[in-house]
Amino acid sequence: MNPIKVGIVGLRHGMASVKEVLDNADFELVALCSRTRESYDYLCGAQIGGDIDSVTFTEPRDALIRHCRARRNFREVAFYTDYDAFLDHHNLEAVIVAVPIALNAEYPVRALNKGKHVLASKPFAPTLEAGRALKQTAEQAAAKFMVNYEFRYAPLMQAIRGQIEAGAIGTLRLMWWNMFRMPFRPVYANWAASGGPFMAEVCHWFDLFHMFNAWTPFKKVCAFAGLDVLGDRQEIDDNAVCIIEYANGVRAGINYTYFTDQPQHNLFGVVGDGGKITADTDAAGRYVLYNGAEQNRTEFAPNPSRAHRGHLGFDVAHRRFARVIRDDLDVNRDEAERGFESLLISIAARRAGDEGRVISREDALAG
């Protein structure tokens, strides 16, 4: 079977996707697109300077570049600075989108409208209006559409989801997530670029809660947020506490701080009426299940050797994208609805944080 002819737009975080497609025999990388040639030149062998921005999703960017150029002669890979020309590349079948958040909806829409399969990036869209347009386009598209909410596919999260679905904690009643991390990179430090922490990052945890709770929609959300420590370097909030209630009565709390890069970045738990699970995402992550009459303790830890530090499930999400295309899986409606749900609650949480009051689903949908 011929590999899927794939292109990647955006070569900053997108460099991690370059590595994934090169490591996956289901893909053949045929085209790249970026506003500047710098990253492409690195891939073609240009000397990597000391001032390279090393941050990417999965591992240091210079290491990714070295890994990639050892796997492929990039002079054989077409390079474009113009997105339309990239989409018109003669044999391009699929597009992986890794662009600034402001373009997260527009670029997938344009690719889908040209019949390309799309692996979009989170957050689903920068605005509700753009999210609605992407949702509608994806639901009606003949090409495949998937959003790269990679944590959803991590073995740790799938194992927890499996325990919940198997009834190991009884009926799910409550979820919580505490995130502690270093400040955002400067490029995300303003509202216009990132949309703030709920939109740019917490959307992952909203998505996981949505999955753990059998994709039940949220009903209302409240948050208290502030910029209390990092005011000299950013304009977006640096900490918040947030609560959610879902349509099935499940309740949740999500709290974040961007003050320190602590050893445990994410601590979270799910509580049912018959047990509970506590977990973290260090290395490949681990969880502890407490259930049974004696509150037995069961520990689980996936093999960390394949885990992407900080972005669990990144590799699995790319493999799934290939399978969705190969097996003609009908995923567009679910992917669009779930992506839009994550966007909606992110917008609602930010608004709740701004206004310090409960924002209902209806409030959020009304814009």
């Binding site: 409550l174 949740a252 709390g253």
Partner: protein, 325 residues
């Protein structure tokens, strides 16, 4: 009930064997206790609705008073108690034992040394078995799991967060699992914001016994702490440290009421050395106001401001003679 209260049975046995028990008198009327000049101090473990009456009478009789939490069954009653305590300086202490525990003292020491910088966020998770039957009923218009027990954790937030007054609170809570045995909320999620910018999250459920049942997280702008009253994990830019707090804890730590002995030590220090305890009428009144606002937020699933709670404190609310004791 030996099966359900093993620690209580053991404590009763120990008390029975104490040589002083032979000299302890039994009274049916509290006035008889108050009339005795040789009784200097009283511990009040009566239902919440009687706290004000018993405390006021004891203070007016010149006794030292250690009154169990919460301060009272209503905000108006708590304010009157505070007035009575103010009129008898150095004679009133409120029984919030957890804030005296070795765990909280260790956490306060770490904060005081600046090891985690300024405290910015606090989280408390508490998942436990259902209340004993006397606590399952509502005894006031605004009553529930927060006013009955969550007040402990709100008190810890207040102390660890630098005793800044709360500004607003929002909550989603309800009675979803235990409706056949109780009429107070059995789960909820609560967020609070304080005047100094501190934010806090409290999540709780009363469905079944948990192990471990609780966890506290303190996030500063230079580090953080996590623990469960027996172990305290601290991390900052200098590294990580795990402190086995329970080695220094008072004997009944297994019963869950951490700090209980130390609280009584503080009461003795108030009487013998004139040391004002942390849990006094001021902190008690603030706790009552915070718990009221949080419970109201749980009941109505909305944001309640400090101003709204203070206005409610001006009004008397109906109460039954019952509740925790």
């Amino acid at each position: 009930d030996r099966a359900r209260l093993p620690n209580h049975v053991a404590q009763v046995r120990r008390v029975r064997e104490h040589p002083d028990m032979g000299r302890v008198e039994d009274f049916r009327d509290f006035e008889d206790v108050l009339r005795r000049d040789d009784i200097e101090a009283v511990f009040l473990y009566v239902p919440d609705a009687l706290h004000e009456d018993f405390a006021r009478r004891a203070l007016e009789a010149g006794k030292y008073v250690l009154c169990t939490k919460p301060m009272a069954h209503s905000l108006a009653s708590a304010r009157r108690m505070a007035e009575a305590a103010q009129a008898h300086p150095g004679h009133f202490m409120l029984g919030f034992q957890f804030c005296y525990s070795a765990f909280i003292r260790a956490a306060l020491d770490i904060i005081a040394r600046g090891r985690i910088g300024t405290v910015r966020q606090l989280y408390f998770e508490h998942h436990r078995k259902p209340f004993r039957p006397p606590h399952r009923r509502k005894y006031a218009a605004v009553d529930g799991s927060v006013t009955k027990e969550g007040c402990h954790w709100l008190d810890l937030f207040y102390r660890l967060g630098g005793q800044s007054p709360f500004q607003r609170v929002c909550a989603f809570g309800g009675l979803d699992v235990l409706a056949d045995i109780q009429d107070v909320d059995d789960n909820g999620v609560i967020i609070l914001q304080y005047r100094n910018g501190l934010k806090a999250f409290y999540g709780y459920s009363y469905f079944r016994s948990r192990r471990p049942g609780w966890g506290l997280t303190v996030v500063g702008d230079r580090g953080s702490m996590q623990g469960d009253f027996t172990t305290l994990y601290v991390e900052n830019e200098d590294g990580e440290e795990t402190i086995e707090v329970y080695r220094e804890a008072s004997p009944p730590y297994r019963s869950g009421h951490h700090g209980y002995y130390e609280m009584h030590d503080a009461f003795a220090a108030m009487i013998l050395e004139g040391q004002e305890p942390y849990s006094n009428w001021r902190t008690g009144l603030e706790n009552e106001l915070t718990a009221y606002a949080a419970q109201r937020a749980v009941m109505e699933n909305r944001t309640v401001t400090r101003e709204e709670a203070e206005q409610a404190a001006q009004r008397e609310e109906p109460a039954e003679k019952g509740g925790c004791g």
